[in-house]
């Protein structure tokens, strides 16, 4: 009697599992960089777990690449209920069409409810094409997501003008709902090392990429942006000490080098690089001032900067009145450590 009750229960559970596996779910497409999962993938897993728990759905991760099978357990630990793997030498280097073929076939069969990508070059190529192919909605560069449980609709907050404010967007009627999430916007999930699973392999059909790599662009240098339009500026002042170090920090941040009038007088920068109301006024997203004391003319010229970091040994330096983050130290001591930290 008890055994037949158990059989019935197990049969019901199997039926439920099959039903769940056959549709819906919150899916994450993993981004693999240099053989490892990109942090944004794990952050997306954390978001997927939260959404799935509210929706009463499962979380699935899709892993594409060559020799990526070893990463599947990390995805289980990050909260995946199922992992699909397309592990093939053909997928070793990202190309749109082979990846689209695998994902398009998979999603056509599985009918996901939500699909999350990282807002990375790979995610930016794949997400809009899949969204268009499946008549889905796509909210890009999401930094915060909430769920309307009644309509099972995800509402995403999207930064406008570099985060000055956020636009709240949703796709209430379109399914699947595609999201791309900004790297660093969501916390990393709790990694449950006891969670394990058996990933399912996906068939990989060789599809020729339509974009061919011809080789490196020998001698190509991107044109420098005018300082006024630069999104990141590293500015040097006389207290910086080592100009080469500042240059290296600027290169590591992908920033333009500038400076105050003192740096110009020292011959470190050109006239067009002087940040000053009599020179160039700037409005970058990040302004890092290394060894700049900050006179009135300089501070007025960086008023529109979205985020200012100042490194100066004098705690009374006027630059600290306008900076968001004030580092009271000599740049020559902090910059080498900063270089190591950002690399």
């Amino acid at each position: 009697m008890e055994a037949s009750y158990l059989d019935l229960l197990m049969a019901q559970q199997e039926e439920f599992a099959e039903e769940a596996a056959g549709g819906g779910g919150v899916w994450v497409v993993a981004d693999v960089v240099n053989g490892a999962l990109a942090p944004v993938t794990l952050e997306a897993m954390g978001l997927a777990r939260l959404l799935a728990d509210s929706l009463g759905a499962y979380v699935y991760a899709v892993l594409l690449g060559d020799g990526v099978a070893g990463l599947a357990q990390t995805l289980y630990q990050a909260g995946a209920d199922g992992v699909r793997i397309a592990d093939d030498p053909f997928l070793g280097r990202f190309a749109l069409e082979p990846y689209l073929k695998v994902l398009g076939d998979l999603f056509a069969q599985e009918g996901p409810e939500v699909v999350i990508f990282g807002a990375t070059p790979q995610g930016n190529e794949l997400a809009p094409r899949l969204a268009q192919r499946m008549n889905g909605g796509l909210i890009e560069r999401v930094t915060k997501a909430t769920l309307d449980e009644a309509t099972r609709t995800v509402q995403g907050a999207v930064p406008v003008y570099g985060g000055e404010y956020f636009e709240l967007l949703a796709c209430p009627e379109a399914r699947p709902q595609f999201l791309t999430v900004l790297p660093g916007a969501f916390p990393l999930p709790f990694m449950d090392t006891h969670r394990r699973g058996e990933p399912v392999s996906l068939p990989v059909e060789p599809v020729a990429p339509r974009v061919r790599l011809l080789g490196t662009a020998v001698g190509f240098e991107p044109p420098p942006l005018p300082l006024r339009q630069a999104p990141v500026i590293v500015a040097v002042g006389r207290q910086a000490g080592d100009l080469e170090l500042v240059r290296q920090v600027a290169a590591a941040l992908g920033a333009q080098l500038a400076g105050d009038r003192g740096a110009y007088d020292a011959g470190w920068i050109g006239r067009e690089q002087i940040v000053d109301v009599r020179g160039v006024t700037v409005a970058p997203q990040i302004y890092l001032a290394a060894g700049i004391r900050g006179d009135t003319f300089h501070n007025a010229a960086i008023e529109e900067a979205r985020y200012i970091v100042a490194i100066h040994p004098d705690p009374e330096a006027p630059i600290f009145e306008v900076a968001d983050l004030c580092v009271e130290a000599h740049p020559a001591q902090v910059l080498p450590e900063l270089l190591t930290a950002i690399r």
């Binding site: 889905g136 909605g137 796509l138 509402q155 999207v158 636009e167 490196t216 409005a283 990040i286 690399r343």
Partner: protein
């Protein structure tokens, strides 16, 4: 050969002030500009025209209340510009516009290349180009720095970022490419064309056409994206002092920069 440049317009960010405490956006100067990435797309189209003598057609990436951006394109040297008009277009999203643009390209008799900006200036979104490429079933090259058409006019080549450096990639035409902001510098408009296009005089003014969107689409489509309001971050907190050993201070600065880089969507080594 026909090259399409898809151009947008955006509120000049230097003309707006966001008051986070009040939760309001104050528009001090309502001035719309051609977004930097779309300027590069227009310049790339003009350079291809210089090299091949192709026809350049400007299309809007969103419904505009005026045709100023298209007149700018004509002044710079575009051969045709199509202003799209219709009911209910104020809510048009990228999915809707991709289908409208695909229909417009079909009505034009097809194209060999479509160029547009890689990202929008305000939200940094990328989806219009790839969505359009999907409808047209064309290859796409995103985030190009340079675009050239191969001598036999059968393929397009572009310089893109690859593995920390730059690489040359190629796709058969027709193809869609997006240009990164700052890749190319848009040329100055021709003075006579500029005057004529705004005065509505001569062939350059006649090159600006007006098409009804309803006549383009065989079925009525609805936007999929719904705007549900705005949210404002907390007030900016200035003057946060950092103390500790140089290594500790550097770690705090690096973390702050990493968070900021993430919000900007920049793919720096720190952000990855």
């Amino acid at each position: 050969m026909r090259v399409i440049a898809i151009l947008g317009r955006v509120l000049d960010p230097s003309g707006i002030v966001v008051n986070r405490r009040a939760g309001r956006i104050f528009i001090n100067r309502e001035e719309y500009i051609l977004p930097p990435a779309d300027r590069c797309a227009l310049e790339a189209a003009m350079r291809i025209k210089d090299a091949t003598g192709c026809q350049v057609v400007a299309l809007p990436r969103a419904p505009f209340p005026d045709d100023d951006v298209l007149r700018q394109a004509l002044a710079v040297g575009a051969d045709r510009a199509i202003y799209l008009d219709g009911h209910g277009l104020d809510r048009a999203d990228d999915a809707f516009m991709a289908s409208v643009l695909a229909a417009a390209i079909e009505r034009l008799g097809g194209a060999d290349l479509v160029l547009t900006g890689a990202t929008t200036l305000d939200t940094g979104w990328v989806q219009l180009g790839p969505r359009l490429a999907e409808i047209l079933n064309w290859p796409q090259i995103l985030d190009a720095w340079q675009v050239t058409v191969r001598d036999d006019a059968a393929a397009v080549q572009a310089v893109v970022r690859s593995d920390g450096g730059y690489a040359v990639v190629e796709a058969d035409m027709p193809a869609l490419l997006t240009l990164v902001p700052g890749a190319l510098r848009l040329r100055y408009p021709n003075g006579a064309r500029l005057i004529n296009v705004y005065r509505g005089v001569g062939p350059v003014a006649e090159a600006l056409e007006r098409w009804e969107v309803d006549a383009l689409l065989s079925e009525r489509r609805r936007p999929v994206l719904e705007h549900r309001g705005q949210e404002f971050p907390p007030e900016r907190e200035r003057g946060v002092r950092v103390r500790g050993t140089p290594a500790e201070m550097a770690q705090i600065v690096a973390e702050a920069l990493r968070q900021r880089s993430g919000a900007m969507g920049r793919i720096t080594p720190a952000a990855r």
